[in-house]
């Protein structure tokens, strides 16, 4: 059909336009005026436009179930709901790369439109570097993963999308995550450009901060959507498995969070120039590294993705090229200005420096945990897996000083502050949080010291920031609202993860219909099984009654879904949520028997994990929204 051709040829044209764009940038670079020429504008637009056309051609091919295209045939089915036909566009390797390039190119175009206040040479160079990325990925797509590859003869029906991907959260997860990943590309490009034209300064930091915020917000939300999906869809009741595929999205988040903090210092005090540049480079490298590891099939992951060594080698080569390029630029164009290196011990700058230290530590821990098994297998062929015990062991103790210093940092001022004024407040917070954990400890004795200290330090942060909120609403005191919201969210996140992790209960039983079983505080009765047909799957619904000690009954109806194409069985958990805890029941069939495997879980404070995740992102959003208002 027409869309396949249209998509393919506009992709070819976009490469052509991108290469011409290099030429026009070069031409314009030596013209001494302060305006970027209209040719550069038009070719940026043409590149953007042709990629958009190409992307939407693929979308339409999916919507119209055009099985003459391999990507559609392999990942779609005519009986699939329209929403999942749509999201199927990026539920596969080829389509997701096209999405990736589309975001790359749209960031290029948006940067051009929104950087008019900045020097011309800096703008042109940023676009130049961004264009290298676009061209690199366009060639990658055409050479190794053409989304419009034809299939002859044309099959009548497609193979269908993996059912676990047929889910609203996971449908929007990739675009959001990609905006986060790819958003860091423009930071990378502009960091390289600003080094060459010696523009690494307060002004640069102020102009680039918005991009850092945007990609940070999207990365935060993207990661969270992924874990929400994992929580209800994978049926284990966990939301984070320290799986390599998850880790590769968490690593850029750490780098980006460090960058978000260091760029604030750079924008205010003009210190941390080189460090901010390094972080900009690291962030994008990690984002690309994520794509490389996921797409090359090197990662041994519970999530399966199509993989191909040729693709891995291409991305790896490109990644090495970019890293070398940025290294050369970094050493050739060191910022000339002497910066004031030191600051007072009790200042916000110190707090941010410490934040950066911790972020890099967390990043290294996750990085080593992720690549160590790969390296070890190459070196001596041993197969290992690094799981939650490693991460808990290594991260938990460091969270305690991290949270405490975070609390203090939010209370001190820039440059130098007199901590004595705050001493009373901090002491009060300290005692208050301490009393709180004494109470917790009294009611449940089996908590380890580390966990108690995590409770303590996160409560310290939460109470500290609650006081700021109180000052803000009651006493109309000026506070940095976005910062307070995000940090409050972070404190709440750690607290709820700790509570959920420590006080969760789970039981697994095998039951037949009609059987019941006594659990700790409940009785679980397996009432009935019924069958229902849906659009592209059959569902088997189990009906359960859960009776608590007071005789109160809860009804649960977890499902098994048997998809017709591809024929896969998935479990749909039934979760009942309130502010105190989630009750979670999931059922699995046991092949060749009448038994069903039932997992019942109680997860206290689960919903607060999601709420705090949103708060963290909301803080970033507020930072953009409030800035806008105050300037305009």
């Amino acid at each position: 059909m027409i869309f396949g051709e249209l998509g393919y040829y506009s992709l070819i044209f976009s490469i052509l336009f991108s290469i011409l764009l290099f030429f026009f940038i070069y031409q314009d670079y030596f013209i001494k005026d302060n305006k970027v020429s209209t040719k550069v504008y038009s070719f940026c637009f043409l590149q953007f436009f042709t990629i958009i056309i190409s992307f939407f051609s693929l979308v339409f091919s999916f919507l119209l179930s055009d099985f003459s295209i391999v990507a559609v045939f392999e990942n779609s089915h005519s009986s699939k709901p329209i929403f999942y036909k749509f999201s199927g566009t990026w539920g596969n390797h080829e389509g997701s790369l096209l999405l990736w390039v589309m975001v790359l190119s749209s960031f290029l175009f948006l940067f051009l439109l929104n950087s008019k206040k900045n020097p011309k040479k800096y703008r042109l160079l940023t676009i130049f570097f961004q264009n290298i990325l676009v061209v690199g990925f366009l060639i990658f797509i055409i050479k190794t993963s053409n989304p419009f590859e034809k299939l002859i003869p044309i099959p009548k029906e497609g193979l269908g999308l993996n059912p676990i991907l047929q889910d609203p959260a996971l449908a929007i997860h990739p675009p959001i995550l990609y905006v986060g990943y790819v958003g860091s590309s423009i930071i990378f490009s502009s960091a390289l450009a600003s080094m060459i034209v010696n523009f690494v300064s307060k002004i640069w930091a102020q102009s680039i901060k918005i991009w850092v915020l945007i990609s940070w917000i999207f990365l935060t939300l993207g990661i969270m959507l992924g874990s929400i999906w994992a929580y209800y869809e994978l049926g284990w009741g966990g939301f984070w498995f320290w799986d390599p595929v998850e880790n590769v999205s968490l690593m850029p988040w750490f780098a980006l969070t460090a960058l978000l903090h260091s760029i604030i210092i750079l924008a205010r005090r003009n210190v941390f120039q080189s460090w901010t540049i390094i972080l900009s480079i690291i962030t994008f490298t990690l984002s690309m590294n994520g794509t490389f590891l996921v797409r090359s099939g090197i990662l041994n992951s519970i999530h399966t993705f199509a993989n191909d060594p040729e693709r891995g080698i291409f991305i790896l080569t490109f990644l090495i090229f970019l890293s070398l390029l940025s290294l050369v630029i970094f050493f050739a164009y060191q910022p000339q200005k002497k910066e004031d290196f030191f600051f007072n011990f009790t200042s916000k700058e110190m707090g941010i420096a410490i934040n950066n230290w911790f972020m890099i530590f967390f990043l290294s821990a996750v990085l080593i945990g992720t690549i160590y098994p790969i390296l070890l297998e190459i070196i001596n062929g041993k197969k290992i897996s690094v799981g939650p015990p490693y991460y808990n062991f290594i991260l938990a103790p460091f969270l305690i000083p991290f949270l405490i210093i975070m609390t203090i940092s939010t209370k001190v001022d820039w440059i130098r502050s007199n901590i004595n004024q705050k001493k009373k407040e901090l002491l009060f917070l300290l005692i208050f949080s301490f009393l709180f954990i004494l109470i917790i400890n009294y009611y449940s004795q089996k908590i380890s010291i580390i966990n108690l200290l995590i409770f303590f330090s996160s409560l310290f942060l939460i109470f500290g920031l609650s006081k700021d909120f109180f000052d803000f609403f009651k006493n109309k005191k000026k506070i940095n609202l976005s910062q307070t919201v995000s940090h409050f969210g972070f404190g709440l996140l750690i607290l709820s993860i700790a509570i959920c992790g420590i006080f969760s209960k789970e039981t697994d039983v095998n039951l037949k219909v009609g059987e019941s079983i006594k659990l700790d505080n409940y009785e679980l009765i397996f009432n009935d099984l019924s069958m229902k047909e849906d659009k592209n799957f059959k569902k088997i619904i189990g009906t359960f009654n859960l009776v608590d000690i007071n005789g109160k009954t809860f009804h649960f109806s977890p499902e098994l879904r048997i998809y017709n194409q591809p024929p896969i069985v998935t479990s749909e958990a039934n979760i009942q949520t309130n502010f105190f805890k989630d009750k979670y029941i999931v059922m699995n069939n046991i092949s060749g028997s009448d038994y069903y495997n039932i997992r019942f879980q109680e997860k206290p404070f689960m919903v607060w994990i999601w709420i705090s995740g949103f708060l963290i992102g909301l803080g970033g959003f507020l930072s953009i929204a409030l800035k806008r208002n105050s300037i305009d």
Partner: protein, 143 residues
């Protein structure tokens, strides 16, 4: 004497190096303690010393006609067609767990042929074979 600035800078660099060394030490120390090794039944069989307190993963094929259920647990045999291990497991069972399919179980060995699993790893795709299992099976069949 050195100027104040130089001295401060030296202290700063010293602190960075110390913390770096510390971090590397802690990371590798905890890796050493918390890593889970993957072994095939044959590898276990041939192993001289076995640490029974250490969590491992074993993988292979679920042997035909060996799955037995009760209310609390499930028993089956993992084989790589050369050696087998008897597995006792209580916990959630993935939908794709079935006889003559690849499986990875995590837990502790009681002895060389008896394994108490506390986790069976879920797989999302009926055709998907964990790379370890695939390799373990290939290795044994080509020997």
């Amino acid at each position: 004497m050195l100027g104040k600035k130089v001295r401060l800078r030296a202290i700063f660099i010293f602190l960075v190096l110390i913390s770096l060394a510390l971090v590397v030490y802690i990371l590798f120390k905890s890796l050493e303690e918390n890593v889970v090794y993957f072994l095939s039944p044959t590898e276990i069989h041939e192993k001289q010393e076995i640490d029974f307190d250490r969590k491992i993963r074993i993988g292979g094929m679920v042997k035909k006609n060996t799955i037995k259920h009760s209310n609390q647990s499930i028993n089956f045999i993992i084989t790589d067609f050369k050696n087998e291990i008897y597995v006792n497991y209580s916990g959630s069972i993935p939908n794709l767990f079935a006889e003559e399919k690849g499986v990875v179980a995590e837990g502790f060995l009681k002895d060389k042929s008896y394994f108490i699993a506390d986790k069976i790893l879920a797989k999302h795709d009926e055709n998907y074979m964990p790379p370890e299992v695939n390799e373990a099976l290939n290795k044994e069949s080509t020997k």
